[in-house]
Symmetry: C2
Subunit: 361 residues, 2 copies
């Protein structure tokens, strides 16, 4: 056994205790005499597991009964198309704030479905900051306002919730859900792919204010109608049962760690450690994001020149530090330090970075 | 350890050897120092695993390079909506042959997207037979012909491939993929949810003739455009990596068993055993499907009266025979005997049925 520190952006590290439980009960789950992968989603054991996972998520995030909690397939990108279809008619407008790659993708998927407006964008600036609130050009009658609280590739994060008046906020929390406390009641929709802070890829969670559903006036295929999933406890068709079960275990682990508040403290500490190391490297390492918008979850950084990337990655892997290669859209390095990454992992990375800079400086 | 015979319709039994391998390498996969759930889908190890799974599927089914093999999320029901969007424009017609519940569902999901025609249906007859070919009212210019080779709930299966001329056949093979040899070149599209013969729920396979894609003339969200998945090796967005990996292990197991031909022999034998027991029970057990259309995969059957259902299920569970409750749409019992169900499991069921009939007859 030689598990390493895994800084992959997603699919990403899971708590080892969760993996050990999955392993222990893989052939026989609870009293079912079968694997959790083999039991019917309509059987009582899985229904109970699914319901408990939803209850735990509601408790951890403080989600009221005004919201449906959906466990869907397709990834956040699919939701980026399904949500505009479900929240508005084709003649209505969706406002989009762009602070990185994923905001752009969400916009692309919405464009064929309704009118869209880019409220503000830092694309020309290379996505290094959040455009000042005073510059946002909101529609007067937007059906929703979409933004990405944390941009996984560019490492730009909102540290508070934008105020756009009564327009429902729709937020892609894929890379920051449960990484800190969030006032869910401020949102119309929170959605997130599971594969960063919650579990394996293949499950997407949508927390949707119930009154927003079913008003689009479109003639949708029933499988695209989120209200059908809402009314059927996300079992309008066969859900991704194994992923749902693993998310349930991750949520139990999160509760045992102290929940979102404890994660917030730890994630703040981890990110401070890493940004301090970068800023204190005398310019050897570089993160280009405006300090007030730096992500706690994804820390992109660059070496003095791109020729050093390969030796950095090779030596990091040898030192047990995996998945540090930056996204192809940006290059350089990226350390994703989600909930399952312990402080010791970041300490180890910071130590390695200092050592590498000395040897290659 | 007391694993039982699991007759669940899906999620369904997996080969025990596959589960043992998953268990053994759950914390450290190959040389990755991480779980397969934790590694990036863009990393070489997963890319190799994904590509090998596709190669094995192509080999097992004899899929030529004229076809894309896609590994998608969303279940077969999502494909029932995505396929009409991708194969035809809104003014074109899709022909639908209905032989059970899932054909109906596919039609419902297509109706908002294009013109549809029900070519023939046995709905009024309770879905107990395949309407005679001579009664099918095909459109002259259908963009595709959709049918369900095996209806999981009603237990109606085609034992040959329908001839509809040059119209591309689109077939939902969710419950019978790889259960027998199939001439893929006769099809435009074969699609299947994984959770019956291939792996865990949360992955859907689509085998699509390449020339059929990209001609619909619609302005689709990019994530709904199957050609984008085709061009990106099903990694246009993050795929369901763990499910993909498990399907890969199931395919290796299938190859070791002798592939589709060996499964065909075994599945024929298993279904003959069970139908013989039903037909030879002196009317105690009853299957209503016309013998020529009886499914090899899903065998619905009824007891003399519904009051016997509960004791039957209870005693069956005590005897280590799980998941026999029929679908709520039909009632009664259902034994799903997919590839992973050994002959010994069916023998055990048949023995129990005889014994139960004697005690409660």
């Amino acid at each position: 056994m030689s598990r390493a520190y895994n800084f992959s952006a997603g699919p990403a590290a899971l708590p080892e205790a969760v993996l050990r439980q999955v392993q222990a009960e893989l052939l026989e789950w609870q009293g079912e005499r079968a694997s959790v992968m083999e039991v019917s989603h309509r059987g009582q054991a899985f229904i109970d597991c699914a319901a408990e996972t939803e209850r735990d998520l509601r408790e951890l995030m403080g989600i009221s009964d005004d919201y449906s909690v959906l466990f869907l397939q397709g990834g956040a990108t699919t939701l980026a198309a399904l949500l505009p279809m479900n929240l508005a008619g084709p003649e209505q407008t969706g406002d989009y704030l762009l602070t990185g790659h994923w905001g752009e993708k969400a916009l692309e998927n919405a464009k064929p479905l309704l009118k869209t407006r880019v409220v503000a964008s830092d694309k020309d600036g290379g996505y290094k900051r959040i455009p000042a609130r005073s510059t946002w050009q909101l529609s007067e009658d937007a059906a929703f306002f979409h933004y990405t609280p944390n941009e996984t590739i560019h490492g730009v994060e909102f540290h508070d919730i934008p105020d756009v008046g009564a327009t429902p906020l729709v937020a892609d929390f894929s890379s920051s859900i449960l990484s800190r406390r969030v006032d869910v009641s401020r949102f119309g929709v929170i959605y997130a792919g599971a594969q960063k802070n919650l579990g394996p890829s293949g499950l997407t969670i949508a927390i949707v204010r119930k009154d927003l559903l079913g008003k689009h006036g479109r003639n949708l295929p029933p499988i695209f109608e989120l209200q059908n999933q809402s009314k059927n406890d996300s079992m309008f068709n066969t859900p991704a049962t194994f992923s749902w079960y693993v998310v349930g275990l991750v949520l139990k682990w999160l509760k045992a760690q102290g929940g979102a508040a404890a994660m917030e403290t730890q994630n703040r500490r981890k990110s401070e450690l890493l940004y301090s190391a970068i800023d204190g490297s005398g310019g050897y390492y570089r993160n280009d994001v405006e300090p007030s918008a730096r992500s706690w979850m994804n820390v992109p950084f660059f070496l003095p020149n791109a020729e050093l990337d390969k030796p950095f990655l090779k030596e990091a892997e040898a030192a047990g530090l995996l998945g540090l290669k930056g996204h192809r859209a940006l290059g350089g390095m990226r350390a994703s330090i989600y909930n399952a990454m312990p402080v010791s992992g970041v300490e180890s990375l910071v130590g390695f970075m200092g050592d590498f800079a000395k040897r290659h400086g």
